[in-house]
């Protein structure tokens, strides 16, 4: 999951402990389960494959594009589109290499995603990873910021017998991923670590790159055809996971501090101006997505424990205290409301084990507004 937290952070357990100690324990009152106030008919959507995540809706709400480790012979994520009416699933990405972060181009069958399939070592890497897993060894979860990742636009063939086309939209050295379209389909906002490769780094920066390349991640924007790539942020630490607001007038993303442990939700104009901080939990708050009503933001945070991510919502300006949505052990994150605002897709480990799958529930928008109104003002 790349719209995920910093990989390097999770390997640095000393820092983790410090932060864990700093986080205050949740008051007992918070442990009363309010999940059913907002979510009903919760259900597991994906079953096949070791894990799946990051489901994003088509603009008619009838399909979901997501990443899943289910391609035979490939241990890495591939991109799939799921038809919610028939249950049919079709692979969107080429089937080899690593992929992540897909998004439907509004009103079309086109899908953007990040992939490394042009890397000539792709198949060898697949085999190496399969061998590693077969050896029974395990490693701590960490996302691989493969510098080969570039953003592609998938377009299906005119008929089922015509192969799809893949247009490469970025080719800078460094991880280019986490893309999403503007509501009019004309723009893509994305994350790039190209800044670590397109200039001479200081010795300190070089060291930083080896430990945690996500330190160099910044938000960029480009035309849907890859033209006019422009950098929007320039603050040290991982800026990533950008999405447009439903009216296309703002960009929402998450910004990590340089430790890679604290993240908060920010918004800005599509030209990078008027940056506003929305959350301030002192924890890892990330994966924000704006509800189609434009009135509030859903995001994930590990406020209640380093390994326990829950989904929260907060008013669009971040004036109130965020309201907790999920109450399950382990990971609940990457919330994405359906275009009609009545359903929520998210990634969760609530079915057990450590690997996420996509879940789906009915979303109670009225209850959400009510809870936001009742939420106390955030202390500044």
């Amino acid at each position: 999951m790349t719209r995920n937290f910093s990989g390097a952070a999770r390997t640095l357990w000393v820092r983790v402990l410090v932060v864990a100690l700093a986080l205050t324990a949740a008051p007992a009152a918070q442990s009363i389960n309010h999940e059913s106030d907002f979510l009903s008919r919760i259900r597991r959507l994906t079953v096949e494959g070791r894990r799946a995540g990051e489901g994003y809706w088509s603009s008619d709400g009838k399909r979901l594009t997501f990443q899943s480790e289910r391609e035979p012979g490939n241990p890495f994520y591939q991109i799939y589109a799921l038809d919610l009416t028939t249950g049919d699933t079709k692979r969107i990405s080429p089937g080899y290499g690593k992929t992540t972060c897909s998004f439907f181009r509004p009103g079309t069958d086109e899908v953007e995603f990040a992939s490394t399939h042009h890397d000539s070592t792709s198949k060898k890497q697949q085999q190496d990873e399969l061998d590693f897993r077969a050896s029974g060894k395990t490693r701590r979860y960490s996302w691989d910021y493969d510098p080969e990742f570039d953003i592609y636009a998938y377009k299906p063939g005119a008929t089922s017998s015509v192969p799809p086309t893949y247009t490469r939209l970025t080719n800078a050295r460094g991880y280019d991923a986490e893309g999403s379209y503007s509501p009019d389909g004309q723009w893509i906002v994305f994350t790039s670590m190209r800044d670590a490769y397109n200039r001479t780094l200081s010795a300190e920066e070089q060291k930083q790159l080896e430990v945690d390349p996500s330190y160099f991640a910044e938000i960029y924007i480009m035309g849907a055809d890859g033209s006019g790539q422009k950098r929007l942020t320039s603050v040290a630490g991982y800026d990533g996971g950008p999405f447009f607001s439903p009216d296309g007038k703002r960009i929402i993303w998450r910004r990590f501090d340089t430790s890679g442990l604290i993240a908060n939700v920010f918004t800005m104009n599509p030209d990078g101006t008027d940056v506003r901080q929305i959350t301030d939990f002192g924890a890892m708050s990330w994966a924000p997505y704006i509800h189609p009503s434009g009135q509030y933001i859903l995001f994930a945070s590990n406020k209640l424990g380093f390994e326990n991510f829950e989904i929260y919502m907060v008013d669009i300006d971040g004036k109130k205290e965020p309201v907790r949505i999920t109450y399950a052990d382990g990971f609940d994150g990457l919330p994405v409301p359906s275009p009609d605002g009545r359903q929520l897709a998210w990634t969760s480990t609530r079915a057990g084990g450590s690997e996420g799958q996509i879940f789906l529930a009915q979303w109670n928008h009225e209850k959400a507004l009510e809870a936001l109104r009742a939420a106390p003002e955030r202390k500044r």
Partner: protein, 617 residues
């Protein structure tokens, strides 16, 4: 739920009043499962005990419904009934024991001493698996009669250094009472009486006597002749004797039975058994009442079975339709007040039976390449006897069967949760389930484990891919209160639609699913060693780090301790609990009426209570 069903009834009445042929889409559709559940769970069928008149009536009804759905008897069969024989009950047929003391004595001629004879269930009674025989020989006391395999690295063998060849062995029931929990746990696994009989036989003994020692629960009492469904004996005469009879056998021995047990209870593996100064004449007789019950089997023919190279042309869909009758057998959980009442078994398993009938009806109209066989089992509640009889003597070779799908307790859905167990038995299951469930919309709780206490186990053991669907346990489980009014018919109908799509997918897939052997759970815990009840109802549909409770039995130890639905038990008597197997294992170690600490999570908070287990009936 109530409001909704009233609305449906109102709509139906309305529809009837206007005109009969309203387009079905415009009125609430009547449940496709309610009628079958209501009939099968009605008082008239008296709980559908295997081999009972109520069960026969149920089978007749099922066959009629299958025929109405368009299913036919299997090729070469005249009807849908497949009878099998089962042991309906056992009782002692007049076993006797006569003791001749061989103790050294000042009386010159031991033969002249009077022999003591015992008969009657309070003194001597055959064990249900005993061979019928008349034997005689000297008696050897072999402690608890436990033999732990070397692989367990425990080094416990009651027969080490003991010559029991052609002798009659006397052993204590259960396992050493005072050892640490870990040793107890290991020993408990080998304390089942069948296992003890096997160990005695393997060491050359010609008979086995069992006494419940003075330091164990129910001290000195003979064992109830438990219902044992196996048709075969254990290959050795075996009987339970009272404490008084055991003391008579010990008369003149170097120590008393009580003293011998106290030594053994330390768990020290070096405490050896010894020969007793007695020889006995033992006659054992077990009366086994054999009855016949019926599986109901029918099929819908597929179109593609003659395709060249089309492999494994059968898919089997099944559910058991038998239940507990009046609950006179061991697995009833009826409270004292409910004892003897009809156990209606609406969820267990009129719900699964109704689902299979409705699946047959739904599939009759769809294109199918493979044949679909519908199997409604009897004898499930007494040990999967019906499905075992089927796989032992299958009407079509099992090599021609692509998969078995089982439905057991599917009528009490909670939180939209449907469990699908056994997905580890074939690589094909995740894909098929995911696709069908996108449309059905259940919160599917999948588990790889095909070793489930239901008929799918019979097929897993035969090397077939299996799936087992259930909505899980509840406080009415195995009690008279499992009634038809508590069934959630709306969701049961949803399960039918979902299951029909899954069956159709298997029926039409080009290459039959391949079987994957899942390693059996590595605990060996069985209910055989469990002597107590805690009154908890585990939730099998949710994977939790601990034992999630679907409920507690009213008036049972768990309820008295303050445990409730939703609690997750994480520790019992110092044993950490991470799953249902750990739990069963921990239960083996508990003593009735001895309070233990139970640690559980409630709303994310760790809490502790004292729970006092009760003895099992």
């Amino acid at each position: 739920m109530k409001a909704k069903s009233i609305r449906i009834v109102a709509l139906l009445v309305l529809a009837g009043l206007t005109r009969p042929a309203l387009p079905t889409a415009q009125i609430a559709v009547a449940s496709r499962t309610r009628a079958a559940v209501e009939f099968l769970a009605s008082d008239r069928l008296e709980g559908r005990d295997t081999g009972s008149p109520g069960e026969r009536l149920a089978a007749d009804y099922i066959a009629m419904q299958l025929a109405r759905a368009g299913a036919k008897p299997l090729p070469g069969h005249r009807d849908m009934f497949m009878p099998f024989e089962f042991t309906a009950g056992t009782r002692d047929g007049g076993s006797t024991l006569t003791i001749h003391s061989t103790a050294e004595s000042r009386i010159p001629n031991p033969e002249s001493r009077p022999a003591q004879s015992f008969r009657g269930a309070e003194q001597v009674q055959a064990l249900s698996f005993s061979d019928d025989a008349a034997i005689n020989g000297p008696v050897v006391f072999a402690g608890y009669g436990l033999v732990v395999p070397e692989s367990q690295n425990l080094g416990y063998d009651s027969y080490a250094g003991l010559d029991v060849k052609d002798k009659i062995v006397l052993v204590l029931h259960y396992f050493p009472e005072d050892t640490d929990a870990k040793t107890k746990a290991a020993l408990a696994r080998y304390s089942d009486l069948r296992y003890k009989a096997l160990a005695a036989r393997q060491h050359g003994a010609k008979g086995l006597l069992v006494v419940t020692g003075p330091r164990s629960p129910n001290a000195g009492q003979t064992l109830r002749m438990t219902f044992d469904t196996a048709l075969s004996g254990s290959g050795i005469p075996a009987a339970t004797i009272s404490g008084a009879v055991a003391n008579a056998l010990f008369a003149g021995a170097s120590k008393s039975l009580a003293a011998a047990q106290e030594e053994l209870d330390s768990g020290n593996p070096h405490i050896a058994g010894f020969a007793l100064p007695s020889s006995v004449d033992l006659t054992t007789k077990v009366m086994r009442e054999k009855l016949t019950a019926r599986n109901v089997v029918a099929y819908l023919p597929g179109s593609g079975t003659r395709d060249s190279g089309f492999d494994r042309p059968w898919v089997i869909v099944g559910a058991h339709y038998d239940h507990l009758g009046h609950g006179t057998r061991g697995t009833s959980l009826a409270s004292k007040e409910e004892a003897g009442q009809i156990h209606h078994g609406a969820d267990d398993n009129a719900s699964g039976t109704a689902a299979v009938l409705a699946i047959a009806q739904a599939l009759a109209k769809r294109p199918l390449r493979r044949n679909i066989m519908f199997t409604l089992w009897s004898g499930e509640e007494i040990g999967l006897v019906g499905s075992n009889a089927f796989v032992t003597n299958p009407p079509v070779p099992l090599a021609k069967v692509a998969a078995y799908l089982n439905f057991d307790m599917v009528g009490r859905m909670q939180n939209n949760k449907l469990a699908a167990d056994g997905i580890g038995s074939s690589a094909i299951w995740p894909r098929i389930l995911e696709r069908a469930n996108v449309v059905a919309g259940f919160d599917l709780a999948v588990s790889p484990d095909p070793y489930q206490p239901t008929d799918s186990s019979s097929f897993n053991q035969s090397g077939l891919p299996t799936l087992f669907f259930t909505t899980g346990s509840h406080p009415d489980y195995h009690r008279p209160s499992d009634t038809a009014d508590k069934i959630d018919y709306e969701d049961l109908d949803r399960i039918v639609d979902f299951a029909a799509a899954v069956v159709q997918a298997v029926a039409n897939v080009d290459v039959a699913p391949e079987f994957t052997k899942v390693d059996p759970p590595q605990t060996g815990a069985t209910l055989a060693g469990v002597r107590v009840t805690t009154g908890t109802i585990p939730d099998y549909t949710t994977e939790a780090k601990g034992l999630l409770l679907a409920g507690v039995v009213g008036g049972g130890p768990a309820e008295k301790a303050g445990l409730m639905k939703g609690d997750v038990v994480v520790e019992i008597a110092g044993q950490s609990i991470t799953n249902i197997y750990d739990y069963t294992f921990a239960l083996e170690l508990l003593k009735a009426d001895t309070p233990v600490k139970v640690v559980f999570m409630r709303n994310g908070k760790r809490q502790e209570v004292q729970l006092t287990p009760a003895g099992r009936r």
